[in-house]
């Protein structure tokens, strides 16, 4: 089947016979709405996890150096953080509505099994909201170090929120901790459900991704400013703090990603098979880079002989379980999963190389006694650095596509199909259009407001901060 047609077919899964009103269109509308609002929220949520850490770093640096430019940086980031947190809080609430509005079949049956991580997430989120209120509004009312301290719970609670939410998603991949009798959940071990085998690799991978996205996105903004010739302390620090954090996290992310893939080889061979486009179980499986699924093989891809067998088992003779182990109707759409994965890995490698470049430039700078970013090739470096943010976001979305598309056609892997979970009420398509409209408006407004904020919005500054190194602050 050709690529667009197979994607379309994936979207239009046949309706479940028993659920009355649902049409294929409504089912794809529900999937599209959930996918869209999650894809939107995941970016804001990542910024919500990472930006507080960057802001605290800038504030701490500012207190240490006494340089008003650093404090100003912290203030501006905090303002952005405030806007993003508000947007993230509401777009996250929509998700908890949508769990019931769109997937009542899932929630009615398994809501209690995944209730605990969401309850814990609620608490973590509450703490985040409270301390964010204090942090943002008490800047002038607390001594600097005290103020810095009030930001710490935001960071911790943000990371914990991410962990709890991902635990619930991990449960959908590795359902544990419950017993079914006659189609009803009769016994639940909520802790076993939350701490299922997929939770550790998935949540570590996600938290690191959040830090990378926030870091590289922020760094991108300042890379553009540096390219425009604004190379003062303010913009240099604004670039270096996030970029260094991103560069430090990226190698760990590669390890975490490898861990997550190995986990799949052991626990979810079907998903790995879809990721790598392995249709038949055998040894000496090549690693195929890019390519489309055509019938029972990948076409137009670059094959590295024995690559996958080597990666998984360190020996060419390692047997890789293929998609042929499960009935065809239970296959995820191979092309979308495979391409998402390859794009994610490719962009991850790009981000890693950018970190290495920075390290080399720094080492060269130390050797020759020149300041970093004063060596040759800086312009190219900054150009590439300016795209690290969008690259990290694309990698994030692709990674999320891998885990979600890779689970299809199941909503709870091996237990409940997506089409059995969807709300059978008519008119879901209308809901999708409404949601798309509101999100489009909100995105436009958010981007507009944030851009204005970085450019020329007057930032309330203390008098001594009003003219730092000659760049305009207002």
């Amino acid at each position: 089947m050709s690529q667009p047609a197979s994607l379309l077919a994936a979207a239009l899964l046949p309706p479940y016979a028993a659920s009355g009103a649902v049409t294929p269109g409504d089912l794809s509308a529900a999937r599209a709405q959930m996918g869209f609002s999650l894809a939107w929220h995941i970016v804001v949520a990542c910024l919500g996890v990472g930006l507080p850490l960057l802001t605290l770093a800038a504030e701490w640096y500012g207190i240490r150096t006494g340089n008003p430019a650093h404090r100003l940086l912290a203030r501006r980031w905090a303002r952005a953080m405030g806007v993003l947190f508000a947007v993230g809080a509401v777009s996250g609430t929509i998700l908890s509505f949508e769990m019931g509005l769109l997937w009542p079949g899932l929630m009615g049956k398994f809501g209690q099994v995944i209730g605990l991580p969401f309850a814990l997430e609620g608490i973590a989120f509450f703490i985040e909201a409270i301390f964010l209120g204090i942090y943002l509004y008490a800047w002038d009312r607390l001594p600097p170090r005290m103020h810095l301290l009030t930001g710490v719970p935001i960071v911790v609670a943000g990371i914990l929120s991410a962990f709890f939410v991902v635990c619930a998603n991990a449960w959908m991949n590795q359902p544990r901790g419950y017993t079914l009798r006659g189609g009803r959940v009769v016994h639940v071990d909520p802790w076993a459900a939350m701490l299922n085998p997929a939770s550790p690799p998935q949540s570590v991978h996600m938290v690191l991704a959040a830090l990378m996205v926030a870091s590289f996105l922020t760094a991108s903004v300042y890379a553009v400013a540096l390219l425009r010739g604004r190379r003062d302390t303010y913009h240099r620090t604004g670039f270096f703090i996030p970029f260094v954090l991103g560069a430090v996290v990226t190698p760990f992310q590669l390890v975490a990603g490898d861990w997550a893939a190995r986990f799949l080889a052991d626990f979810r061979p079907t998903k790995l098979a879809a990721i790598e486009g392995v249709f038949h179980t055998h040894s000496h499986v090549p690693l195929t880079v890019l390519g489309f699924a055509d019938g029972d093989r990948l076409r137009y891809g670059l094959e590295i002989p024995d690559g996958l067998s080597l990666l998984v088992g360190y020996r060419p003779s390692t047997v890789i379980k293929g998609l042929d182990r499960v009935p065809r109707e239970d296959w995820p759409t191979v092309t979308s999963v495979h391409l998402s994965f390859d794009v994610m890995v490719g962009l991850g490698c790009f981000l890693l190389l950018m970190g290495v470049w920075l390290l080399l430039a720094w080492w060269w700078g130390r050797r020759t006694g020149t300041a970093p970013l004063a060596v040759r090739g800086t312009r190219l470096f900054l150009l590439l650095a300016a795209v690290t943010g969008p690259a990290a976001v694309v990698a994030l979305e692709c990674g999320w596509c891998v885990t979600e598309f890779g689970r299809q056609p199941w909503v709870v892997w091996g237990v409940m199909r997506v089409r059995d979970a969807v709300n059978p009420a008519p008119g879901l398509m209308t809901g999708l259009w409404l949601v798309l409209f509101v999100y489009a408006a909100m995105t436009t407004a958010a981007v507009y407001v944030l851009r204005r904020m970085t450019r020329d919005t007057p930032v309330p500054v203390a008098p001594q901060e009003s003219d730092v190194e000659g760049y305009p602050v207002a």
């Binding site: 703490i127 909201a129 959940v185 071990d189 909520p190 009420a425 904020m453």
Partner: protein
């Protein structure tokens, strides 16, 4: 036992949402009616200062209620959300528009932007509680049967009881906000503003009373089971709400704003608990009881224990939040602290 406790905690969360976030919605209602740009500016500023630091924390109560409902009573959560998905989608969109527009208005400097975001904020502040009220009316009048999307997706919320619920929710929010804002304005030393909001608090209080009285007739015709519960088992709570409403108005007229605040909150809380009391032990009228819908004890216990531990962290944090903004330099941001308390 655990099921009842979980339900009580959920209901307490709903009460907190109504009392705190409800007032934030009500503030949006008054923002809508504040008048044209120039004339309305001081009021809008004041409203913004009042709810700015706290609305996000207040909003979290909704997440708390949703999560407890789905963890503790999954079939009820699924039944309510699938049948009432139209008003709930609209309420959800209202929540997005309200929160985002409020944050954007704060961050924007040009008048046309402030107008646009302000209009979004204010309108959605009215529509959201209305639709949430229609949801309450649908559940209370027994129009949400057990099962997934088993009820009528339109008449379950487009009916007399839902309409009553929606209007009452908007008015109650507006009343709470006006009463709270009186006290904030008085504490900020702005007597004119305080008088303005006192008049609004009295008017919205009277309007709520009239609608509630008319509601008796509506419920008698449209929601017989609820009516029976309200006039029998839950009668004491109904009386408490009515008495608190009247006492609150008297306190307002006599400028006892702090007490008026507590009594207004009591009146609204009593409405919610009288609904709960009238319907208990049914979660979905007529036949899904708390016991039927409750999750296994292991889940309920885990959630309750987590919440208990969580609250040990939350209470001092909340105290810190409100306390930080109580100790005030005499700035206009003064109102800041407990606009939604």
């Amino acid at each position: 036992m655990l099921a009842d406790l979980t339900l009580a905690v959920t209901w307490a969360g709903l009460t907190c949402y109504a009392l705190f976030a409800g007032a934030d919605f009500g503030a949006g209602f008054w923002d809508l009616l504040a008048g044209r740009d120039k004339r309305g500016l001081p009021q809008r500023r004041f409203i913004e200062h009042s709810i700015g630091p706290v609305w996000e924390a207040n909003h979290v109560w909704l997440i708390f209620v949703l999560v407890l409902l789905w963890a503790g009573f999954s079939p009820v959560f699924a039944a309510v959300l699938s049948t009432l998905y139209i008003p709930l989608t609209l309420a959800a969109l209202g929540i997005i528009a309200r929160g985002a527009a409020f944050a954007f208005r704060k961050a924007s400097v040009e008048l046309w932007q402030q107008r646009l975001f302000g209009a979004c904020f204010a309108l959605s502040s009215v529509l959201t509680p209305f639709f949430l009220g229609t949801v309450a009316g649908g559940v209370a009048s027994g129009r949400v049967p057990a099962g997934i999307a088993a009820g009528d997706t339109v008449t379950s919320w487009a009916n007399p009881t839902s309409f009553l619920g929606g209007v009452l929710a908007v008015l109650a929010c507006a009343h709470l906000a006006a009463v709270y804002l009186c006290q904030d304005a008085a504490r900020g030393g702005d007597a004119a503003l305080a008088a303005q909001f006192r008049r609004r608090a009295v008017l919205s209080g009277l309007a709520s009373g009239v609608v509630a009285l008319a509601g008796i007739a509506i419920l008698h015709e449209d929601a017989t089971v609820l009516f029976h519960g309200l006039t029998h088992r839950a009668l004491p709570l109904v009386v408490v709400s009515a008495v608190a409403g009247v006492v609150g108005l008297v306190l307002l007229v006599r400028d006892h704003f702090v007490w008026a605040r507590a009594v207004a909150a009591l009146a609204v809380a009593a409405i919610l608990w009288s609904w709960g009391g009238a319907q208990y032990p049914n979660m979905l009228v007529p036949s899904t009881t708390v016991g039927d819908a409750a999750s296994t004890d292991a889940v309920l216990a885990a959630c309750l224990i987590s919440l208990a531990v969580g609250f040990l962290l939350l209470v001092p944090s909340l105290w810190l939040l409100y306390a930080t903004f109580q100790r005030e330099q005499p700035a206009p941001a003064d109102a800041g602290t407990d606009g939604a308390r």
